[in-house]
């Protein structure tokens, strides 16, 4: 059976519907939501193609959805469907099992017609640094090239994207805005929607309800990009250095798979990895730096404060007095307070102890099923203090908040994490200043590097000022 591409005679009442559901995707039959009989004419005409979910690759296996190939992440079982031993991929299991007797469907027909109108409704003005980055972004979008935007926390990265998104949509290009963290997707979604009310913008993260169907812009966690294939002309990766993207090579492959060949790739970060910095310096990766926040004020420089053996104190149900005093000062002035800790256990203990003094204090961590709800409580000023693990170190903007790290010497607080935490403070124009406290039991080089990083950015920013 030979596929008849671009068959003009092929006319099916569900053509457009199936096209929008399937175009640019890699889906299981259950995910398409149509019985196989409906898909059959499309398959015969070559508008839909099937590929095996898994195939043999060398000594091991390759998952065609998430591109996993580590033999340790595949398992076999005696399958009641095919009566044989089936191998399946454990990496992307959460999205529905891919096994040797399963099939992935993708679209091979006409490209979906854009439905929205790209007209930017944002009225604000870009800072000189933002303007420069925005211009570079538009060029990268037009030329289909790579670009690293290295912008300090609070540089106003979202606004930098607006013009490039508008240009891309006007030339009917599909856009993927992806970030490793669901929290960041949820922050971006309303802002992009508000800027482009005429476009269809969908948010994809574990548990979101808008999983399928057409969108002009997809905002997705990097995990969710696994369901796409050759879908996007413009791929913007926000917080490219963030865990788990930098630790999980299969996620990078998934983003590559979701992009069309020749797609523009934009990387955004405040804290690029060594590799990215090196590529930029060696001229292998075009980059632009924004050392100044959009409001023109410098980044708050962290204060280091020795607090002795805080772990022992926590064990005895005590919060170190210096931290208590700082919380007292801040909460009595009505300042929302972030307290960053290095483990779930510490988050729970510290939240419980602080709640004794400040009613409504909450603790949150990555595995907390109520974490989105809790962050919302803090945002709405229903909680005076939010004790959190590093999941909230980036992307989350709480107006007027100030931040403390309890145990800044812990290894989880590397330079990048500490810079990101400092970046939570002083983000609004009305309150551009605020405390960043690293409470520690011994200075680490990460703490000193973080301070140096911020000071360097501030220096560069003041040199660039008025440009």
């Amino acid at each position: 059976m030979s596929p008849i591409q671009g068959d003009a005679d092929f006319n099916h009442p569900s053509y457009n519907e199936i096209c929008t559901r399937l175009a640019g995707r890699d889906l299981l039959l259950e995910e398409i939501g149509e019985p196989l009989e409906v898909l059959l004419p499309f398959l015969q005409a070559g508008h839909i193609v099937m590929r095996p979910g898994l195939s043999k690759s060398g000594k091991g296996w390759l998952c065609h959805r998430c591109l996993e190939s580590d033999p340790g992440l595949f398992a076999a079982f005696s399958c009641a469907r095919c009566g044989q031993v089936c191998t399946y991929c454990r990496t992307c299991l959460e999205m529905g099992r891919i096994d040797t007797c399963g099939v992935l469907f993708s679209w091979n027909g006409r490209a979906p017609l854009p439905e929205g109108t790209a007209s930017l409704q944002w009225q604000g003005e870009l800072s000189p640094g933002q303007q420069k980055a925005s211009n570079a972004l538009c060029r990268a979008v037009a030329d289909g090239t790579e670009l690293l935007i290295w912008a300090v926390c609070g540089a106003g990265k979202t606004e930098i994207l607006f013009r490039g998104i508008e240009d891309a949509c006007l030339s009917r290009r599909r856009i993927l805005l992806t970030t490793p963290r669901a929290e960041v997707v949820m922050e971006l979604l309303p802002r992009i929607r508000a800027a482009f009310p005429g476009l269809i913008v969908k948010g994809l993260y574990g548990g979101s309800e808008e999983r399928f169907g057409y969108a002009d812009i997809h905002i997705a966690t990097t995990h969710q990009t696994r369901r796409f294939r050759d879908a996007f002309d413009v791929v913007i990766i926000d917080e490219i250095d963030a865990f788990p993207f930098s630790y999980d090579p299969s996620l990078k492959q998934a983003v590559d798979k979701a992009a069309k060949s020749g797609a523009a790739r934009i990387y955004l970060t405040a804290t690029p990895s060594r590799l990215l910095k090196k590529q930029a310096r060696d001229g292998k990766l075009p980059f632009i730096q924004i050392p100044r926040r959009y409001h023109g004020y410098p980044l708050p420089v962290p204060t280091l404060k020795w607090i002795g053996n805080w772990k022992k104190a926590l064990k005895k149900d005590r919060i170190p007095p210096a931290l208590l005093a700082w919380c007292e000062k801040k909460t009595s002035a009505g300042v929302p307070v972030f307290v960053f800790v290095s483990s779930v256990e510490q988050a729970e203990t510290a939240a419980r102890l602080l709640a004794e003094k400040w009613e409504g204090t909450i603790g949150v961590h990555a595995a907390d099923p109520r974490r989105h709800e809790k962050i919302q409580l803090f945002r709405n000023k229903k909680a005076p203090i939010l004790v959190t693990t590093t999941i909230l170190e980036r992307g989350v903007t709480i107006k007027g908040a100030e931040a403390a790290v309890l145990g800044a010497e812990e290894s989880i607080f590397d330079e990048k994490a500490l810079v990101q935490i400092a970046g939570r403070v002083g983000r609004s124009k009305d309150q551009p200043e605020g405390d960043v406290m690293y409470f520690h039991y011994g200075k680490t080089s990460a703490m000193l590097e973080a301070v140096r990083h911020i000071q360097t950015m501030n220096k560069q920013g003041s040199n660039a000022h008025g440009e």
């Binding site: 340790g72 992440l73 398992a75 079982f77 009641a80 099992r97």
Partner: protein, 252 residues
């Protein structure tokens, strides 16, 4: 790239090094110590029949060594079809999450998380019993690609006993309420009679994943007893503790 040794559950690469801690923990454990610590083994058999724990909720209904549910079962023929139940773990949050991935997401490799404990109990107390996996309806098995009771039974050495079948139920058990589920008039199990199988004098160990009210295993046990089995016990991975018997429900 060589494959790293990973925890079977969280799939993180294993980092445990040889240390004093390593000597007291299990070197051959397929899961990391953090994941192992998530699960709670049931140590005391408070209810002699079903293994239910005596807690705030169930204690008032205990009569000697039997929980309220099992006292009530003792008054019914079908209730007496089951000799007893033994469960390995408490069906708490951690166990629920594990089951969700194992059974509903469909990660059969996770069965091995509990292999050691599972085989140990069988060896200690049930090595002379004939093992039978609680059958699932054909539709359900097709849908999942496996029957979870078979996965559990297959960890035990020796032959399986066959002959019992189950009809597909109209509703998913875990979604229906206890009353519907407990309707004793609905019998989904039957003997595959073409083979004229009899279990005369056999002791049968019926394997399933969760014991909640014990209705399902008792329905199966009653068919097995009619086919001649002398005793039927159930061997389950988890004992659900949150369920109330009707009497307890009324008391609330």
């Amino acid at each position: 790239m060589g494959s790293k040794r990973r925890c079977l559950y969280c799939m993180e690469p294993r980092q445990e090094q040889l240390s004093w801690h390593g000597l007291i923990s299990r070197a051959d454990d397929p899961v990391c110590p953090d994941c192992r610590a998530l699960f709670t083994m049931l140590m005391s058999r408070d209810c002699r029949i079903c293994g239910r724990e005596k807690d705030e909720q169930s204690a008032p209904f205990f009569q000697d060594t039997r929980c309220g549910d099992c006292v009530a079962w003792g008054e019914k023929d079908i209730g007496r079809a089951l000799d007893h139940n033994i469960s390995l773990y408490r069906y708490d949050k951690a166990m629920q999450q594990w089951m969700a991935r194992w059974k509903y997401r469909g990660d059969p490799a996770l069965t091995a998380v509990f292999q050691k404990e599972w085989v140990q109990i069988w060896r200690r107390s049930y090595a002379s019993w004939k093992v039978m996996a609680l059958p699932a309806g054909p539709g359900r098995t097709q849908e999942r690609g496996f029957n979870q009771a078979v996965l559990l039974a297959d960890m035990l050495p020796g032959d399986r006993l066959n002959g019992l079948e189950k009809k597909d139920e109209p509703k998913k058990q875990s979604k229906s309420t206890k009353n519907q589920r407990e309707s004793l008039f609905y019998q989904p199990f039957y003997m595959n009679n073409q083979e004229k199988i009899r279990f005369n004098g056999e002791k049968i160990l019926l394997v399933d994943d969760i014991y909640t009210t014990g209705t399902t295993v008792r329905k199966a046990a009653s068919v097995l007893r009619s086919a001649g089995a002398e005793r039927v016990a159930s061997f389950t991975l988890a004992r659900s503790t949150g369920t109330l018997s009707r009497k307890e429900e009324k008391a609330q």
